[in-house]
């Protein structure tokens, strides 16, 4: 669930193997932003067929291939098995169950054809995809809160106070992961379950025609900068190879600059500290 909320906001989460703006989870099983279901689920089978298949699998197959078919100490992962992926109604699985791979160590199992078909139906009902996020509940609060207080005071204490501006900070978030991500880089994570935090805007100063303009930074590339002054006027100043110079005031500069020196243990400890104040 969290994944969904997060993926919707952070376009860059997915599609890493080949960069682009589509989440892997979506690309695999859901209607992707492109409107194409990448790998459609198999047609749904009646519950009694799946129940029979699961029961027969548990008795006959799970010992080697794992209760979830993802592989065991002896048997390979069946979720990514080429045979299972290509099989439709058990027609490819059946000969193997009936002894076609004795040489590779797969024993002959005396099961009726219909039972193998049930097992195949159950296997095909399991989600298989290279981009799936497990639904396991993982506790990310593993750090030491006392060490986290020390780290917080050193890293963050100049600008922030856990009892002042950040009072009740952790409680604003549904998930500790959202909170952790936000204290590292405020304003990036948005969407459901996220509080509306005030992140001060980036401002800039530029001198144009002898006049010094300071205000909120708008569109800014190598050829022009837009600065909106306190009176609400947007000033567009043309730029040429860095002239005139634009001085940017980034309120999150410290956050960006701390990334290279921030240790994972510090992150976990600070998160544990902030969570302890929840």
């Amino acid at each position: 669930m969290l994944r969904c909320a997060v993926a919707a906001v952070l376009l860059c989460v997915g599609a890493r193997a080949q960069q682009g703006a589509v989440s892997h989870t979506e690309a695999t099983h859901q209607a992707a932003p492109f409107g194409v279901v990448a790998y459609p689920d198999r047609p749904e089978q009646p519950k009694e067929v799946l129940d029979r298949g699961k029961a027969a699998y548990s008795v006959n197959c799970s010992f080697c291939h794992g209760a979830d078919a993802a592989g065991g100490s002896v048997g390979p992962n069946l979720l990514r098995s080429e045979v299972v992926l290509r099989d439709v109604h058990g027609e490819l699985i059946l000969p193997i169950v009936h002894g076609a791979r004795l040489a590779q160590g797969m024993p002959k199992i005396d099961l009726p054809d219909l039972t193998v078909a049930d097992i195949a139906a159950w296997l095909h009902s399991l989600k298989t995809g290279g981009n799936m996020t497990p639904t396991e509940e993982i506790n990310i609060v593993t750090g030491n809160a006392a060490a986290g207080k020390v780290a917080f005071d050193r890293r963050c204490g100049t600008c922030h106070s856990a009892n002042g501006d950040l009072k009740g900070f952790a409680a604003k978030f549904a998930q500790p992961m959202q909170m952790q991500q936000t204290w590292i880089s405020p304003g990036v994570m948005k969407g459901p379950g996220m509080p509306g935090l005030h992140v001060p805007p980036v401002t800039a100063t530029v001198v144009s025609k002898g006049r010094k303009i300071t205000g909120k930074l708008g569109a800014y590339d190598d050829f022009s900068v837009v600065v909106t002054t306190a009176d609400g006027v947007a000033h567009t100043v043309p730029l040429d190879n860095g002239v005139p110079r634009v001085v940017v005031h980034d309120p999150l500069k410290t956050h960006r600059e701390m990334l290279p020196t921030l240790k994972d243990a510090e992150i976990h400890d600070i998160t544990a500290y902030l969570e302890s104040l929840r």
Partner: protein
Amino acid sequence: MMRFFYAAMMAVCVSTAGAQSLDPSSILQRDVKAWPTYSGDYTGQRFSPIAQINTSNVKGLVEAWSQKLPSEVTHSGGVGTTVAPLGRVSGSIVQVDGVLFVTTPDNVWSMDAATGKVNWHYQWKTRGGTHIGNRGVGVWRDRVFFETPDNYLVALNAKTGEEIWHKEIASFDLQYFSTMAPHVVGDHLLVGTGNDLDEPGMLQSFNPQTGDVEWTWYATPMKKGDEGLSTWASVDAASHGGGNVWVNGSYDSETHLYIFGTGNPSAAFTSQLRGPGANLYTCSTVAVNVDTGKLAWYYQTSPHDTHDYDSAQTQVLVDGTWQGKPRKLVMTMARNGYFFVLDRVTGEHLLTSKMFASTNWAEETLDAKGAPVRIPAKDFDYAGALVSPSTQGIVNWQPPAYSPQTGLFYVNTSETWEMYYLATTDPRGAMGLGGEQLMNLPSNGGWLMAIDYTTGKPRWKHRYPGVTGALAAGVMTTAGHLLFAPDIHGNLIAYNSATGRQLWHQHIGASNAPETFVLNGKQYVLAAGGDTLYAFRLP
């Protein structure tokens, strides 16, 4: 006077009624009137010898035409039932005989290079597959080839757009998807494919006439006795080990080697079941003989990768100088944050350079082969590991360029960061790219770099304005002492390639690498911005 007029008329006739046919051997001679293959030529340099547009006159460059890719379909095919949205251009546009061939996933358009007028539009109805991008067509004689996301190689008549045949590249059931531009080398059609489950990567050679497979090179060992198997836990792990081939490489005609990159090992992040070894030949630059399909040499840029750091950039072949002597080189930058120079005949490692101080997943010291050494503590962590670069890398598929005039390697980069969370306690369930949760952090800056390959250090670099960065599209150099490079704000910018001074720009939302050719005596610069093509020339 009369004579001049006649010549101009002839030129117009040729451009509109050209043969639309490409003799594959002609790719070996640089024809400035065409952009006949992925990188313009086989070197991957994306350097054009055309100097008509140069540092003095580039400021006068104007739009010759622009054309939004139309949705009207003149020919269709396909084995599925779904028509995907048209998508964006993120590949190379091949130009032969004054005709452009441009693609998005499932779609090919033929357009007049002088006017942008569409000749035909072929659309493939799809079964599905990851519709993330398409890198363009290959042209062989009078045929145009492209790959589809549901794994077909389709042959079209270049002139009419009619389908000649389609052949299956890889299994859709096994969740392959295909994006590479078929690469024409002589009478070989080199075809790569991608996969985000646990299937092995491969490069296949197809016969462009018949569509038969001539050879298949697997990126991982597939059976007992295969080279590299000792770097995997078992045959089962190796043959489900990934290493996909999804970006075009470069070709050395002297050694007959196709030199290209492979993707991440699988499972990508939870690596326990792969064994502790290097997991060859994933995350590598490899050289495969195009006649035999056999591996000549390899260099692994990320041994035992755990961060999805594909070796995803097109390799750049340079006849350069190394320690005072002429040497045949290949250069590449990997997603993992490092730039590499190798001997392209032997694969011998010559140089590794870390591009950003922030890159933190590897030790400061390199291994005996010059490759980065992964820090296991920077693998996935339940509570999160802060890693730079992100899985997208400091670079990705967007092509770099090289200029023989400056000896510099040009590339758009981004200092990316990401929190890597482990999302399962059971590595068995974590197939492909699963088993993790990634949380992007803002990039700390997008940079255009001009790198001296002899030192691996930037001669000059330019940070794009803004407090954060991103990865911009690919780049091109020309003999006019120019570098054409898209920025992260949607501009296509012309630079003095030696100094980095900006000379011209146009806001087009550039989504691919620019290219150039001469048409009717005029040099054109062509680039795509999403679903629209833009052609520029001097007035």
